[in-house]
Symmetry: C2
Subunit: 352 residues, 2 copies
């Protein structure tokens, strides 16, 4: 049985969509056990609408909710009975194997670090979503916002963690890793990015292919794109806006007159298929890599389908031994005489 602690109160459509998504996930995975964290009365009311295997659902009463506008560190420390903090506590106590939350990102990151702690050797945990791409497989982007300012050694860890994740959850062996930069040549980028590029070339255990550009995230030949959190965040949201704009234009053009509207109906299956190919909900949530247990951050506006994919992703991380694989890869890298990350760490320390 794989126990996933679910923050049922976080997100724009909580708890309704979170409960519906949980029921879907339970149907799809017979080994799944859902630990729902949230207001018991409210959750019971929502659950009452469904027929499901009650022996695989548990409610842990957590009446408080952390809002998007709260200061994460303060909220996590003071709202011990919030659905978010409760989910992490259960994970910490071994009463669950993974957490899924569509709550406030800052609160999820803070609760994750404070409650679970980092895997040995990880300098900075990082957020890693899977971006839909032309191939249909998706591209992992790590980091996309947990670490605004990074040192080159952090990017090496992102590459190691995302490579381990690619194999553990998606079965991508020897995933191709690129460094997000303003050009593919070695001299591109500022000092930190040039240093990261050199370190990554010498990092054992990953399949580094060099610098990549923004366009390679959705149309490239790489599986993992490594970035500082600031740049990754800008890239992610720029892509999101572009997808939304094109989808909006498509809708507008197909609605501009009756003749277009009628013809839209005749190609609806094709349009739906295009939308599905570009839909980030099919890709799951962002995994928070580097913590001692698997944590999935679902999009704040997740609907049931997207949330159910995140739960399946969490179960996949447990089954695939995500955190163990990250530990092993970091250790292998550290053992290697050429260990780039260690080297950079030592260099940093000697500077201090």
């Amino acid at each position: 049985m794989i126990k996933v602690a679910i923050d049922a109160m976080g997100g724009d459509f909580a708890p309704k969509e979170q409960i519906k998504g949980t029921i879907e996930a339970l149907k799809n995975d017979k080994e799944l056990f859902a630990v729902l964290c949230g207001d018991e009365e409210l959750l019971k009311k929502e659950l009452a609408a469904y027929t499901y295997d009650t022996s695989r659902v548990e409610i842990v009463h957590a009446p408080e909710v952390i809002g998007n506008d709260e200061i994460p560190t303060k909220a996590v420390r003071t709202k011990k009975d919030s659905s978010t903090v409760t989910a992490f506590r259960l994970l910490k106590e071994g009463k669950a194997d993974a957490v899924v939350s569509s709550g406030a990102t800052g609160a999820v990151l803070t609760a994750g670090v404070l409650t679970l702690g980092r895997i040995k050797g990880v300098s900075r945990p990082a957020l890693c979503p899977r971006i839909p791409d032309f191939s249909g497989r998706g591209t992992l982007l790590c980091d996309c916002g947990a670490n605004l300012e990074c040192k080159s050694v952090n990017l090496v860890h992102f590459a190691l963690m995302a490579s381990a994740y690619a194999e553990a959850v998606y079965g991508w062996k020897n995933a191709k890793v690129g460094l997000l930069n303003n050009g593919t040549e070695d001299h591109k980028g500022d000092e930190m990015h040039r240093e990261a590029n050199e370190l990554l070339k010498r990092t054992a255990g990953i399949n580094y292919v060099g610098n990549v550009e923004g366009r390679d995230i959705m149309f490239g030949d790489v599986d993992v794109v490594v970035s500082d959190g600031y740049t990754g965040n800008i890239a992610l949201k720029s892509i999101e806006g572009c997808g939304k704009a094109i989808s909006g234009i498509l809708k507008r053009e197909f609605k501009k007159n009756l003749f277009a509207k009628i013809r839209a109906l005749t190609v609806m299956d094709v349009i739906k298929s295009v939308k599905k190919s570009a839909d980030y909900e099919t890709m799951g949530g962002a995994v928070f890599l580097g913590l001692t247990k698997p944590v999935i951050k679902a999009h704040g506006n997740s609907k049931a389908f997207g949330f159910s994919v995140c739960i399946a992703q969490a179960a996949g991380a447990v089954r695939g031994g995500l955190t163990e694989k990250i530990s092993a890869l970091l250790e292998k890298n550290a053992e290697n005489g050429e260990s780039a990350a260690e080297e950079a760490g030592a260099a940093e320390e000697s500077k201090a």
Copy 2:
């Protein structure tokens, strides 16, 4: 008569598409005079295919070409007879009013700065493309790659220059300006971005609305997005890749079987209209803001239509008094007691 010096040899499809584009531009604008820089024999051969007003076309022989892989400063200094350097020389000598080039970006930027010099008060010239967006109007993104590492005062100048450009060329009065950041709140971003946000709030002569996110470039309520060149480059290329991926998926889905192919034909006009709305070629090239004369950098893979839009854009910059408007706005800002840019400049100097 508006004389545009055209680098006819730069770009993936030069000189064929450059010549075709020039002929189109001449047809659309009776006041336009084209000064074609390139290999005379080659250009004459290309021109022979068209009927046009020969009194509005001049060829200046420039047999050398600067490749994409050459070191810009070296190429610009040594290849005096290249089409790119020749176009800038003519502009400098007053034999042309603007330059359009789809040549190597580095060479265009270097030739621009070395030959023309900066407008008084401009700390760093910047590249500013117009990104297609949902509204159809487009959003100006400044800088998108000329300045990798920026100080906050540079971003203030980008805002002033892009605002002047918005009004001079597109007639957007009081253009809304946003600062590209990883969130809209004032505390977002690193120290430089937080400082830029505060400076921009106090900058006279612009309509600053605060921080914006990557998704606001194509789906926001701003006319100008200001960014350091590194981040702007990542955003631009991420958007480019997203557009290409969605366009590719659309094509794939409409070609997946005979039934889909037949239906694709019935909605071809709608699809074309969508493509046109999202097509960067309709938006022209990136203007290189801050130089003493208007310079348009066309995309390296420009076809005739896109190149003709760039020529029209160059003529628009001359007609709209782009460089004069930038000068005036910078002066107005400097005169203002609250001048944020001056303040930052002084602070920087006192630190040094």
